[in-house]
């Protein structure tokens, strides 16, 4: 396959120099006519030449190549899904696109001319190479120069400021469409706005968009037209190891050994034989080497197996990617980004097989270097005209003085006809992009993938991604790893969650061992951090880890096996660090009862304590063991800093009765102690007795705590089950779209406002209006009229108050009567009534009584308020601006 690459890109170097000297005249003659034609065309603003041009370019391919191609094409089967073809210009509504999409400005026309010229010279000088990808058609069938399709844009999202996240976004956001012809660059290159709108594109669309965004973010980025491996072109990651499954390399920190101090003691003399040691070491090394060897062989075998499939079109597949050069944005080294997968590759990577040309928004460069060794030998010094042939003069790349001359010569050709354009040509720069501003809506940004879903297949792994809130259990990502290459036997599954109310972050399911590990973010109601289990049944193997700072009891970890429970603590005021409980078999007496009411009997409780700095070491208990079945308590104290042995004490709790039948309170043999430095007061029986009493109490407490821990496990398990069932998601209070509560609140606020408004309108009701209406409008009120008006208004109001009182009274009486009737009926029929009827009657009575009471209250309240209301109205009337003047006299 390397041959193909050679054909495409090699042997150019020899032509390069010839072009400068020998071929120049030849070219001149041939192209003079065409140039004339082109100039005319430009003046007419004709746009129809491109297809012709394309056809012409095709003819530059040698017949041999064509045949070769044909053969190869017939060999391969490009399985392009039908739906992907749907993204053609038919589906794009071109009529609504802006003018810059539909036509070319004068400057753009000029640029196209220059490009054509360049292309012709190029194809003349390098007939072996494929034509340049210079001005494909856009969605409106207008030829556009590739550099003007790049629209540098800085996105408003901080996540898109760095290249990795930016590339990841594009790779997620767009779905990939293979090139119509995998061996040729596409005929069409759509604008990034269109690509974003339809969320589909080929590699050229991807890299153009990515390049626009990276340049906008300040990177020195270029679109590359070149040749990639099959995997790269088909976005096939099945031969790549998933980056998520790779374990981060453990950085081995070599602890710096402090130089031995001046007075460091000398080690005891080593009396073992050095010869024997050496022999042993040799033997070990031999074994290790053998193992290493075997492993390597195994690896090689596996690799071979995996790489068995080779690509017949290797080196011919056209691909486009992005090159980021070092220098800007603190990029230390140039690298490639594959826009499909968003992975970065070094410029030496095997996947990139050759470069034809590259461009950014300012210029276009053609690769003049040999690509026989893929891209490994390429030098990305764009200022070097021997390696990179540029299209336009006047970029920011440094030039060697040599190029001046050469360019002069090129321009001279143009200037034969257009003398006046000389100045302009020399400083000709890229016209501004014809593409509209690239915009991504926040919704689209959050949804990321088309339909919020994406599946990537890796080697022995499958990665699925979802947009947040798409799954109602909060699942956003799932990584499934398989044992075999065909992805049939699942090894393990990792599921990432977001926005879960129970703060579940990651679920790790190992299918082989059946071990489930749940990881939680801080904020779980029980401060859970990690929960690993095989089954959700209590009293089984499980480990729970906690955020100890969020817990009152400082529990870090609780491990359970069917027979034991171990707890680790940190930062407790009683310095407890560890508690281990051994359980015995459950009593069989109460077989029916659940675990809660019949706890397993505890056989042994071991508790360990941190050193309490407030106590002397030999009074500070380090470990205490309650042997409950044997009624023994063992204490071990902390070791003093200058000792190697620690105090020990053992209490036998047996209470015995002596020969006379008296209870023995305490005898010296009930407490066996070993003291490093014997103390007087601890020998006393009283001291021992008190210590034992205290321990007895503490034993009870410990048992209780262990029992509570068991209960807590049950509670957590129950809670976890409920949470799994409910899987409610939290919604940020700033998320106005999803947050139902805030939405409700907002609506309620609006409603309140609306009501307030209504009330205001009501308040403005004119209580004099009905009375004023009786009078002829427009006339001024006389005093008499005013007085009458007032009286009428007041009378009316009084009447209304009375009416209301009467109404309440009437209702009250009616209710009372009804109740009385019912009571009477009850009195009469009491004997014959069924219990249901009686209940009915009683409930009726209580309801009626309630109604009567309310009516009573309302009546009394009305009686109370009516005079006040009346007075208030009177007052208001006196103050009414329309009457105030006329009524003044009466006050």
């Amino acid at each position: 396959m390397v041959q193909a690459v050679l054909k495409a890109t090699s042997s150019l170097d020899s032509h390069r120099h010839a072009r400068m000297e020998v071929l120049k005249e030849k070219v001149e003659e041939e192209e003079a006519a065409e140039r004339e034609e082109a100039a005319e065309r430009a003046e007419r603003g004709e746009k129809t030449k491109r297809p012709m041009e394309v056809r012409r370019e095709e003819t530059t391919m040698t017949q041999e190549m064509l045949r070769d191609l044909e053969r190869k094409l017939s060999e391969i089967e490009v399985s392009v899904p039908e739906k992907l073809l749907a993204f053609t210009k038919d589906t794009i509504d071109t009529s609504k696109l802006p003018l810059s999409y539909q036509s070319n400005t004068l400057k753009e026309e000029h640029l196209l001319q220059v490009a054509d010229n360049f292309s012709r010279q190029y194809s003349h000088l390098c007939p072996d190479r494929v034509p340049l990808f210079l001005h494909p058609l856009n969605e409106c069938e207008v030829p556009k120069f590739v550099s003007t399709t790049i629209r540098p844009t800085l996105m408003p999202y901080p996540e898109l400021y760095n290249w990795d996240t930016c590339a990841q976004f594009i790779s997620d956001f767009l779905s990939m469409v293979p090139l119509p012809d995998p061996l040729k660059p596409p005929l069409y290159l759509y604008s990034s706005t269109t690509v974003l709108k339809y969320q589909k594109g080929n590699c050229f669309d991807f890299s153009t968009l990515l390049c626009s965004m990276l340049i906008g973010a300040g990177y020195d980025a270029y679109c590359v037209n070149g040749y990639g491996s099959q995997d790269l072109c088909h976005m096939d990651l099945t031969r790549e190891v998933c980056p998520l499954t790779m374990k981060p390399k453990e950085s081995v920190k070599e602890e710096e050994k402090a130089p031995p101090k001046k007075y460091a003691i000398k080690p005891p003399r080593d009396l073992t034989s050095r010869f024997e040691q050496e022999q042993e070491m040799k033997r070990q090394e031999a074994i290790k080497a053998e193992e290493e060897n075997r492993r390597k062989q195994e690896e090689a075998r596996l690799l071979e197996q995996e790489n068995a499939k080779t690509d017949p079109l290797h080196g011919l597949r056209v691909h486009s990617w992005v090159l980021v050069l070092s220098g800007k944005r603190e990029v230390p080294e140039s690298f490639f980004i594959d826009p499909f997968t968003a992975r970065s590759y070094s410029t030496q990577d095997d996947h990139f097989l050759g470069i034809e040309s590259l461009w950014n928004h300012k210029n276009y460069w053609v690769n003049m270097q040999d690509c026989w060794n893929c891209c490994k030998d390429l030098v990305f010094d764009l200022g070097d005209p021997v390696r990179w042939e540029y299209l336009l003069l006047g970029t920011d790349k440094p030039f060697l003085s040599l190029t001046e001359e050469e360019d002069e010569g090129m321009n001279d050709d143009d200037d034969v006809e257009n003398l006046g354009k000389e100045d302009e040509d020399k400083s000709f720069d890229m016209p501004p992009s014809w593409v509209e501003q690239i915009e991504i809506s926040p919704e689209a940004f959050e949804t990321r993938c088309p339909n919020g879903k994406k599946v990537i297949q890796y080697k022995r792994a499958k990665l699925e991604k979802w947009a947040p809130y798409l799954n109602n259990n909060g699942l956003v990502c799932r990584l499934t790893t398989y044992e075999d290459l065909e992805c049939t036997k699942t090894l393990e599954m990792k599921e990432w969650y977001q926005n879960r109310e129970d703060m579940l972050e990651l679920k790790h399911i190992n299918k082989i061992t059946g071990l489930n590990v749940d990881y939680f973010k801080p904020g779980h109601p029980q401060a859970l951090r990690v929960h690993s289990y095989k089954s959700m049944q209590p009293e089984m193997d499980r480990v729970m880890e906690f955020y100890e700072t969020a817990r009152v009891d400082g529990l870090i970890k609780r491990e359970e096996t069917p027979k034991t429970m171990t707890e680790h603590y940190q930062g407790r005021p009683d310095f407890l660090s560890y508690r281990h409980v051994n359980f015995g078999p459950r009593m069989k007496k109460l077989a029916l009862n659940s675990a809660e009411s019949n706890p397993r009997p505890m056989v042994k409780i071991t508790e360990r304590f941190f050193r309490n700095p407030a106590k002397p070491a030999d009074e500070d208990v380090a470990e205490r063991v309650f042997l409950i079945a044997e009624e023994r308590i063992q204490l071990r104290y902390h070791c003093r800093s200058d000792h190697i042995t620690a105090n020990k004490r053992e209490f036998l709790r047996r209470t015995e009765v002596d020969s006379k039948g008296n209870k023995i309170i305490m005898t010296p043999d009930m407490c066996i102690s070993f003291e490093v430095e014997p103390m007087e007061h601890t020998k006393k029986l009283l001291y021992q007795y008190e210590a034992m009493m205290k321990l007895k109490n503490e034993e009870k407490l410990s048992r209780h705590q262990a029992w509570e821990s068991e209960l807590e496990v049950l509670e957590i398990l129950k809670l976890r089950e409920e949470e799994e069932e409910a899987h409610t998601l939290t919604i940020s209070i700033y998320d106005t779209k999803r947050n139902e509560k805030s939405k409700e609140y907002r609506e309620a606020m609006e409603r309140v406002l609306h009501e307030e408004h209504l009330r205001q309108v009501e308040a403005q009701l004119d209580y004099l209006a009905p009375f004023l209406a009786q009078l002829p409008p427009g006339e001024k009120l006389t005093r008499w009229q005013a007085v009458r008006l007032k009286d009428e208004c007041l009378n009316d109001f009084k009447q209304r108050l009375i009416d209301k009182a009467n109404l309440i009274q009437a209702r009250f009486e009616k209710e009372t009567q009804e109740l009385q009737k019912k009571q009477q009926w009850y009195q009469e029929n009491q004997v014959t009534l069924t219990p249901e009827d009686e209940d009915l009657y009683l409930s009726y009575c209580s309801q009626a009584m309630f109604r009567i009471r309310i009516l009573e209250q309302r009546l009394s309240r009305h009686k109370e308020l009516a005079p006040l209301k009346y007075l208030a109205l009177e007052e208001k009337l006196y103050k009414d601006p329309r009457l105030v003047e006329l009524l003044k006299v009466f006050v």
């Binding site: 101090k261 001046k262 007075y263 460091a264 003691i265 000398k266 005891p268 070791c639 200058d642 000792h643 190697i644 042995t645 309170i665 305490m666 066996i672 070993f674 490093v676 007061h681 006393k684 029986l685 009283l686 007795y689 008190e690 009493m693």
Partner: protein
């Protein structure tokens, strides 16, 4: 004073009940002596109850173990016989007729002392009770607050119903930083209408006054009212504090210099001391030309002194660094050794438990015996291992200590040598000065003899110039005194540095021996314990 407490008829506090008060003041009752019987009775009564009480009775309670003692309503006149109660934390002597605080010197652990309802007139005898937090002197005859300086931890002070009449007593209480509760009601001071405000202002950290909480508002008001005087007081206190700190710093510096054996060589001290006792010298300094000579001499001398001083400090640092490294290394070695020992013991103990159980459960006599033998062997092996470790450490440490000894002696030797050479320079200077002085003196003598002396000399100086011998003797005497001073200083320095060195080395050796003995004892004890456990098991088995 009108509303002050009646001296003969004191009102008991409401909590104590009427009969208590009556008992307290029954004058017909004989004053009692705090004798052993009374104390024993009280201790017995107040000791543990029930089962524990039976045990306590069986064993008896030692006075020095008693933590709390209550001796109220005993008509005690004099505090006595309490010296045995070393660990006493709480002592109640209220409602007695005590007139003087005494006999409490030994109770240094005391936290709680109740002396209310007594006839005490002055606060005294509390200077050793540094742990005291709660002191009640309610209802006594105290008129002045003082002698409480030692009670730095004092939190609660009850001085109600006393005769305190001067508000300035309260300022005394400012020194108790932990004081939170104070009661002064029933004193003449409390009659003052400004009483509360004054206390609030001067004791801002106080929380409770006369059993009532002081609210923040009150505190603010008080602070505003007395702001000026308090500011002044604070200023004075700050100055005092600063002075104390200054002095402390100076003292520390001097200590440091002393540790370097070059104290007071950083100035003219030695030179001045040379002339302090030198009568002739000071007389001679009045001679013409001697003043300048003396100045130059002094300058040179002081420069050498400074050299010695700086050199001394540098050497001190070097010695300290040497000692620190040595100590660190020794500590590390011991630590490591201890860790190893602990590991061995832990391993043994694991096995120990198992084998003990095995022996217990074994029923056959012969196999029991074999197991016991095995076990004893284990114990012996443990002993051997631990002892080997210890011996190894001893050897290693000995080597290191010897090395250190050599180095430190070298260092000290070098220091002494250099100081001596510098001191010799001093002596040279002195000799030189002496010669010059003699020359001048003789010249003047000649002048005087010839009568050419035009300047006037003081009479006592002139008296020296009677003849040549006198003047030569005078100059010589001055010279001798100077040399003597220099020699003394040098001797002092050398002796001290040498004795320091010897002491240090002695201590290191002694410490190491102590450590070794302790460890050996510890190992023996442990092994004995394990062995005895085995023996008891054996006995038990044999009995079974």
């Amino acid at each position: 004073m009108g509303a002050g407490p009646n001296e003969t008829f004191k009102v008991p506090p409401p909590a104590s009940g009427p009969e208590r008060g009556r008992m307290n003041r029954l004058y017909d009752m004989e004053p009692r002596v705090m004798d052993d019987d009374m104390l024993k009775l009280a201790v017995g009564e107040q000791g543990p109850r029930e089962e524990a009480g039976q045990l306590a009775k069986q064993e008896g309670i030692l006075f020095k173990d008693v933590v709390s003692l209550q001796l109220d309503f005993q008509n005690i006149l004099r505090i006595d016989n309490l010296w045995q109660f070393e660990s006493l934390q709480k002592l109640q002597l209220d409602n007695n007729i005590i007139e003087k605080i005494e006999g409490l010197e030994n109770l240094t652990r005391l936290v709680w002392l109740d002396l209310s309802f007594n006839n005490i007139e002055a606060i005294e005898g509390l200077d050793t009770l540094v742990n005291l937090e709660d002191l009640s002197l309610f209802n006594n005859r105290i008129s002045k607050i003082d002698s409480l300086d030692a009670l730095v931890k004092l939190q609660v002070l009850s001085l109600g119903n006393n005769h305190i009449g001067n508000m300035m007593n309260i300022i005394y209480l400012r020194r108790f930083k932990a004081l939170r509760t104070l009661s002064l009601s029933g004193n003449p001071v409390a009659e003052d209408e400004d009483y509360k405000m004054f206390i609030c202002a001067y004791l801002p950290d106080l929380v409770y006054l006369d059993f009532r909480r002081l609210d923040d508002h009150m505190k603010e008001l008080a602070e505003m009212k007395h702001q000026y005087s308090i500011d002044e007081l604070k200023h004075r206190e700050n100055l005092m504090q600063a002075r104390l700190e200054d002095e402390q710093a100076r003292r520390e510096e001097l200590e440091e210099h002393k540790a370097a054996f070059v104290e007071q060589l950083n100035g003219t001290f030695l030179f001045d001391s040379m002339y302090a006792e030198d009568v002739e010298g000071s007389k001679l300094s009045h001679l013409p030309g001697v003043g300048e000579l003396l100045e130059a001499y002094k300058d040179k001398f002081v420069i050498i002194c400074l050299n010695i001083f700086e050199y001394g400090l540098k050497q001190q640092e070097k010695r300290k660094a040497e000692l620190d490294t040595f100590m660190e290394c020794v500590q590390e070695a011991i630590q490591e050794n201890q860790e190893q020992g602990k590991l061995k013991i832990a391993k043994f103990e694991e096995k120990h438990l198992l084998s003990l159980n095995a022996i217990r459960e074994e029923s056959e006599l012969s196999s029991i015996e074999t197991k016991i033998v095995e076990y004893s062997e284990d114990i012996t092996e443990l002993f051997n291992v631990l002892m080997t470790l210890e011996m190894q450490l001893v050897e290693q440490l000995e080597e290191t200590i010897n090395m250190f000894e050599r180095n430190i002696i070298d260092l000290v030797g070098l220091f002494v040598e250099n100081v001596q050479s510098l001191m010799a320079q001093c002596r040279d200077l002195e000799n030189h000065h002496h010669e010059k002085l003699l020359e001048i003196a003789i010249n003047i003598l000649e002048k005087i003899v010839k009568g050419e002396m035009d300047e006037d000399l003081p009479d006592d100086v002139r008296s020296l110039f009677v003849d040549k011998d006198t003047i030569v003797n005078a100059v010589g005497a001055s010279h001798d005194i100077h040399l003597l001073k220099i020699d003394n200083r040098e001797d002092e320095l050398v002796t001290r540095v040498n004795s320091w060195c010897t002491h240090l080395l002695d201590k290191i050796h002694k410490d190491e021996i102590m450590r070794n003995r302790k460890r050996v004892k510890e190992i023996n004890q442990y092994v004995d314990h394990v062995q005895s456990e085995l023996d008891s098991l054996e006995c038990g088995d044999l009995l079974d």
